[in-house]
Symmetry: C2
Subunit: 494 residues, 2 copies
């Protein structure tokens, strides 16, 4: 895999001088087109062998282009705000928006590589980590990102030469650390693991480009040109109609029996029972949050349900049991301008809680496979891939000891009508029934299909859906509270 | 000052039951009106004597209102991302946007109070800190915020009773810490300093409300009602025309001699000199950033100047000397949706760099007193107060060892015309001259007045403006680099 990057590529000064003006002009042009069109974000990863010139290369790219629209991230030590959240949080929070370029040195590849080389992970674990990266990058590409991955390579002899020459010069001596020499001694191991890594993570959408790092001119020009080509190609591609790969349709159930229909919506409890249980479970929930291990957990609660199914009321019964300092309720409405230029999961990543905290989502990322699917706000392929992306997202939360607790509040069509009318009567202002609510209602059966698909495809062992029979509000609220307590208790005991 | 809060206020259960339904209804209504009108943000501070029921009160407010549009912040230990930035950063980052309510327990008052009680600050320092708070709150009010400050008070005897009764109950015992008893012993000192603090920070726009904390019902209802009154008053106030206090006009210079006109724009240097100096100062700048003490500093560089004065080119000459990992260039254009619902300085606070980093602003917060003033985007009173607010902002940066280095790049009207025409000729696309550029040009003399006022009012010892004669690009770039080096060097030696 590294063969072609050990054959002594180089570029003469004359060739360099000839090529550079046009390249720089081209890059600036492309950057401006990108900025003005806001067509897509560009993510550039610069990784590779120690001292192969990663930093210099990134500086060169900054020099050639307009630094006002580039952000360079060298992510090393986790800050304490990052350490309490899933590993990928630090990358999500600095993803470039559409129209901009983000350059990463110290990427999501660094840890998996180092840990395996140092023997902290077995190959199976490494492969698992790489597979997650592949899925993450694939998602970014599907969301429109242009990802360019450069691996700067040096042969063993070249690396030694480079280290020595950096050490000799008093101006660059500081750049050579003990770790560098230590890694040099482990060259073969690094090479072997790197190769495995590159092989498994070179995909059609985001392939690695291996660049011989010995000659700076060769290195710069190779990367500069390949960036320019990639930018131009994407910028000049015709806007639409994009050829959509046909996606196999989901087979609808042939006997018209849906999961939701199997719910017994007549379930109810008496007022007395409700009051007793409410006190019991609110007290229990409060106690659980004072448990010694609670500060090792984070809790994400998701509420989805029919319009007027009682999400707000259920949320209130939870927050009543909590200290206001521990929770945040996030009402999910239309995305803001800053959110619209990011992948759809970005706005939820921003709200991932720290340890010992609750984030309660009133509607959530499931909008992608519900309203966006039914109303046609995204393409068939987009919502189809969302199931997997959402499962990946929730799995990352779970690995970080973040409980994901999801409720679907279900009411019957008749009960919804009754509540709509009641709301219109009681207080015109507070519970505004909009035309949209009535429109959604007309698509009841489309939503029903979407909900059933959602549950079938995203109710997982790590983040199961709880279906809540919500025609009786009291019954629903108790079921929500009880489920919450059970899930948290189980996690605390583990 | 605390007299009225020690006379045993209380409320009977019957009165409570009578009052509550209406209050809750009113609060919910007001909250919805607030959310829909997005007229202003609400900032509620809950402070006071230990164990006077701050947490409980905040929980009650959350219970009464719609928690989806309230955020409660109990800010204690600084995170490491906060610790590297000015003290107020942590509050800025969580300010509620227009339409929402932010509740703070553990406020900007906590530190000044504690430090003075513990004898870490003298009274003069306390007063200085309080004065800064007054200015900060005044700015928030001027930007439209509704600030409500509640101080929960307990007499010495009541505090003792409370501590004992909490300790007796096994369910609440955990709430009483050693610190609480320690503070109880210092009751008189706390009382004395608190009084000083409340006295100095009660302003017409954001007065303190002192509430006797003994009886929960009395406490909740007092705070609930005063919140409702304040909300209703602001919500129901007629939209416009707001009576504008007449602001004394700035006296224009009577002999038509402006500071900018005194600049010798014929200053220039030869190409040879430029190249020598460029290498010299870029090398020096690079070395300075490797200085041992550099990681204790942050650098904020501000570029303002006439259109086409060469801001971009000057910035490029700086970033060429830096490692891409250390700097970020922030191009300032129209604010985003999320920025528009915050005070105008918010978008700049978001970009304050960590230690050892540069933030280079291509246009800045000075837009408030330049374009917004000249184009009438804000009112006379708004840009007049901005001078002081900006000085306060920069002073906070400076106290946090953040250098603020500001450049005004000045060209003549003829030179601007030449550059506009040249740009239109050379490359229509890259340097787009917009109609707006031509329009701005017509207001040359208005801008000139605004620039001179800006410099007179914001060129301070801690953050001086450097006026750069920029008709000759080479001269300008060297002056910028040299100034930057000098400022950083001076700060490193200190």
């Amino acid at each position: 895999m590294f063969e072609s990057a050990e054959i002594g590529h180089k570029l003469s000064k004359a060739e360099w001088k000839k090529e550079i003006p046009e390249l720089r002009e081209g890059l600036l042009d492309a950057q401006l087109d990108l900025l003005q069109s806001r067509k897509f974000p560009v993510i550039i990863l610069v990784a590779g062998v120690d001292c192969a010139g990663k930093g210099e290369t990134v500086n060169k790219l900054n020099e050639w282009m307009d630094t006002r629209h580039i952000e360079t991230h060298a992510l090393r030590d986790l800050t304490d705000e990052e350490i309490e959240r899933p590993h990928m949080y630090r990358y999500w929070r600095v993803l470039p928006p559409k129209g901009k370029i983000g350059i990463f040195i110290g990427t999501w590849y660094s840890n998996p590589l180092i840990e395996n080389v140092y023997g902290k992970t077995k190959n199976a674990e490494l492969d698992q980590q790489l597979e997650r990266i592949v899925r993450f990058e694939k998602m970014l590409c599907n969301e429109g990102a242009l990802i360019l991955k450069f691996w700067l390579h040096l042969s063993r002899d070249e690396q030694k030469k480079r280290l020595k020459s950096l050490e000799k010069d008093s101006k660059t001596r500081w750049r050579v650390t003990e770790t560098d020499w230590h890694h040099y001694k482990m060259y073969n191991k690094f090479r072997q693991v790197s190769e495995r890594m590159l092989r498994q993570t070179s995909s059609a959408e985001s392939p690695w480009t291996i660049v011989e790092g010995t000659d700076p001119r060769y290195r710069y020009l190779t990367i500069g040109k390949s960036l320019l080509n990639a930018l131009r190609q994407r910028l000049d591609a015709p806007e639409s109609p994009k050829h959509e790969e046909p996606i196999p349709p989901i087979m609808p159930t042939i006997d018209n029996l849906f999961l939701l229909q199997t719910l017994d919506l007549t379930k109810k409890i008496s007022k007395k029972e409700f009051e007793e249980e409410l006190e019991k479970y609110q007290g229990k929930l409060n106690l659980l949050t004072r448990h010694l291990n609670f500060k090792k957990l984070s809790i994400v609660v998701v509420f989805e349900g029919h319009d007027a199914a009682g999400k707000g009321g259920s949320i209130r019964r939870i927050t009543q049991a909590l200290d206001a300092r521990q929770f945040r309720v996030i009402p999910v409405a239309a995305p803001t301008e800053e959110e619209r230029v990011q992948p759809y999961l970005w706005r939820f990543w921003r709200n991932i809680p720290r340890k010992g905290r609750f984030a309660i989502f009133d509607r959530s990322w499931y909008g992608r496979v519900l309203v966006e699917r039914v109303e046609g706000y995204c393409k068939h392929a987009d919502w189809m891939r969302a199931y997997g992306e959402i499962n990946d997202f929730e799995e990352q939360l779970q690995r970080n000891k973040t409980l994901v607790i999801k409720f679907w509040l279900s009411i019957s069509q008749e009960e919804q009508l009754r509540r709509f009318k009641e709301r219109e009567k009681i207080s015109f202002k507070r519970f505004k029934i909009t035309d949209e609510d009535w429109r959604n209602r007309e698509k009841w059966s489309d939503y029903e299909v979407a909900v059933c698909d959602m549950i079938d495809r995203t109710s997982t062992e790590i983040a199961p859906w709880t279906l809540v029979e919500a025609n009786d509000k009291q019954f629903a609220r108790i079921k929500v509270l009880r489920t919450l307590c059970e899930r948290i208790e189980k996690a605390l005991v583990k």
